[in-house]
Symmetry: C2
Subunit: 482 residues, 2 copies
């Protein structure tokens, strides 16, 4: 009883303090723990397994589009950062430096990679000589480090896990095509797999990756109305090719600089899916990445216990055999009620209950985490019922997140209107923008909201800049962001 | 023509200079490249893909035995290393130190992890409170760094990739059982998957992991007769539990220290499989980890080219559909002869040739990389013929390596005999050993060979120590090692 009470009081409601809700939930569900190193977290098995499912599916999609994995060194010599001016300015403040190794001071300091454009650019210059060597389509799964001032588990940590694609091409159009292909790969993955609706668009110049010609992003809305940049894809033009001398003999036997791209998503996707789907009872995990998709809980009095458990074990084997990630909790020292709460808190998409009466009737009860819907299904159809319900849970989660985003997105005409709105409401604001950095800066200073991106496909186009009133060049999504 | 000539001269024969052969072959086959950071290599796609296949299968086996993955920080505070005396002595000389980050000097230096016993021990002390929390069975896939003085690609690099299992148990016997289970997992994986025969045994005290009570290893023989320690498993006793305060209330409500283990294999497995199987023509890759298992080469005159390629493409789809890693090389600017050499050098297990006459006869030609055997098979049976031949190639490679090891293993009775032997021959030496560190040291000083391990199952037991002549406690395998 004390445990159940403890449970109820341990998670701060979202409406009271969203940040505390987030920390409560990820700690209690054992997704992560703080480490003794500032800003670095431990990914506990349930947190790491979400990443494994993300990784596996993205990796499959990357390979399907012709990419291969490779691995480049963790350390980057200081001189490498000096080669691309904007790049060094963007990353220098966040770098950790190795100055001693093997008992000696190093002649040149080594940065821990914050991203690998420089190292990979250097290697590509050795590998690429002719148009026949192109395109080079390489991805790396790795840890990277950015010494952040303010950190938040999964969303902003000093060390994080990610993938970084780095490609080199003969022509600008091919490289731009690749940039958009990978952005679209991210969009479809995040929507189809994590049930998170996103806005695809181009970043404004002030929000570009350090060293990119153009940066594109997918942006998602968290349940507190703030934005998360869930993935980015960059067209780097010739900038890194010039800095690192990535040249090739083209089809006319002329020396050309290659056109390069880079693109990445990281473990912040884990933070995003928690903040998009979770509720006051805890996590709500998208079925395709949930470590446990179905939790089976035998119920009923002690005298029928053995028979019920025997049947549960049979059904478990059927589900397992069909590739469902299923677990049984048959502990006798915890009540069914405690277990219901526990696995709701852990975000397991489907709970399966089986009691003695269900045994007699050849049925069992399925309960959806996202809607709470109870469904009585024939044991004989269990595998197909579960796979159908997992699909439905995914779609419900996606639609719910999409409605939430629609309800919390507001179009405005002026900065005053935007300020008044954000005093009362959370969420995304769409507005016209003239394209000047000054107007963008003023919006940020007066509202705390930054431009997220220029959507490819805005619901509505505004005629005038919200700030200066001049003709709008773009319609922009603004939001406070993680 | 110049290209073919270039090929022949580019690989140093093994007999001439084995180390140069090794470097020639891994560079030419594009498995790796040197990086601008001392001792760190780049894993190019074909090298990294071998690691991906290793990882995937080992990961499956770890999960099958109840382990889950997690991820711990790259950085380890300096004070952590001080907690276990032997551990700090073992690793301190090899550590790189981060002393500055985010533009400031750090209060406490951070080591880049050389292994994670200390960090994981610290976290386990927070997670383990009761016997109900045990066992904890966690594995980590990660990069680690040891600032080595002499490096060799894959076999000894400053940064390398590995997995490290870390488990905690209620009792010594459970922990010892785990230690042996994982050693056996390594043995069977390395033999069944990489076709490398290994010797399982216990390390002598002087060769133990820094901080272990007992260390066990699997040892493999390279083609130059030297040994590689291909995997290790450690019983750590209570040492790390005491150092990091991993305590639990046992079934009698008494505080106890946990018993811990750790075990790991690394990217040195890639170096090992190259040095075990390669020959003067280049790589010979074990089929189960080869990035390309079958290379298809259309042959014949230009006029039949289109028809042959069309048929090759059909067969390609059949093989691909059956899960075979297959590629087609239909470039018209390279001769079949050049291609034959190229893919032999790259170690592709099976070459498939198809020409116009084969088309008429409904057959194709399969050539085994390891034996050179040519087999004419019906196109209709291609999928089953290929999967049979891949199995056979694996077994041939294993048996070949096993005979090589047998031919190059010698039992001796005295140190003089061993010295005389090693002047003429390469390989492993088995001998009796009294158990004293002094005798072991003398063997090392006078022969350059170290004790590899004490095999569980030696072919022959010697009665007396090769060094002092006293009664032998153990039969030991000695060898010069990488």
């Amino acid at each position: 009883m004390s445990k159940e009470k403890q449970f109820v009081t341990e998670i701060t409601p979202q409406g009271e303090d969203f940040s505390r809700w987030y920390i409560d939930v990820i700690k209690k569900a054992e997704l992560m723990d703080y480490s003794p190193v500032r800003g670095c977290i431990v990914f506990r098995p349930d947190g790491y397994e979400i990443w494994e499912h993300i990784k596996e599916e993205l990796d499959r999609r990357f390979k399907e589009t012709g990419h291969r994995n490779a691995y480049f060194p963790l350390f980057i010599p200081e001189s490498f950062f000096q080669k691309e001016k904007e790049h060094v300015e963007g990353f220098n403040p966040e770098l950790p430096w190795v100055t001693e190794a093997g008992g000696e001071l190093l002649e040149e300091r080594l940065a821990i990679r914050p991203t690998s454009e420089t190292m990979i650019g250097h290697m590509y210059s050795k590998w690429i000589h002719s148009y026949r060597d192109l395109p080079v389509l390489i991805n790396q799964w790795a840890n990277v480090v950015r010494w952040e001032k303010r950190t938040l588990p999964f969303l902003r940590t000093s060390e994080f896990l990610w993938q970084e694609g780095h490609t080199a091409h003969e022509t600008e159009s091919e490289a731009r095509e690749e940039t958009m292909r990978m952005l679209e790969t991210y969009r479809s993955f995040v929507e189809d797999y994590l049930a998170i609706p996103v806005i695809s668009g181009e970043k404004t110049p002030s929000e570009r990756f350090a060293g990119a010609v153009d940066t594109y992003s997918i942006e998602a809305m968290m349940k507190d109305g703030r934005a998360v940049q869930a993935g980015t894809s960059h067209y780097l033009g010739n900038k890194f090719a010039v800095a690192f001398d990535i040249k090739f003999l083209d089809r006319d036997n002329q020396q050309q600089f290659a056109h390069t791209t880079s693109w990445g998503v990281s473990t912040r996707l884990i933070g995003s899916l928690i903040m998009v789907h979770g509720d006051d009872r805890g996590l709500v995990l998208p079925p395709k990445v949930a470590p446990t998709q179905v939790i089976m809980i035998p119920i009923g009095p002690p005298k029928t216990r053995d028979a019920v458990i025997a049947r549960v074990d049979e059904l478990y084997c059927q589900l397992k055999g069909a590739g469902v990630r299923v677990r049984v909790d048959d502990r006798s020292d915890m009540s069914p009620g405690w277990k219901f709460n526990e696995y709701e808190m852990r975000g397991v998409p489907i709970r399966l209950e089986l009691g003695p009466r269900d045994m007699d009737n050849g049925v069992c009860v399925l309960v959806s985490r996202v809607s709470g819907e109870k469904r009585i299904v024939a044991q004989a159809d269990l595998v197909s019922e579960i796979s159908r319900m997992l699909e439905e849970v995914h779609h419900e989660m996606y639609e719910k997140a999409k409605s939430f985003r629609a309800d919390n997105t507001h179009a405005v005409d002026t900065l005053d209107e935007m300020k008044a709105l954000l005093e009362q409401k959370r969420g995304f604001v769409t507005a016209g923008w003239c394209g000047s950095a000054a107007c963008e800066k003023q919006v940020k200073e007066e509202t705390g909201a930054t431009s997220r991106n220029i959507p490819f496909d805005p619901a509505e186009r505004k005629a005038n800049c919200l700030c200066c009133g001049e003709k709008a060049e773009h319609t922009v999504v603004f939001a406070r962001a993680y």
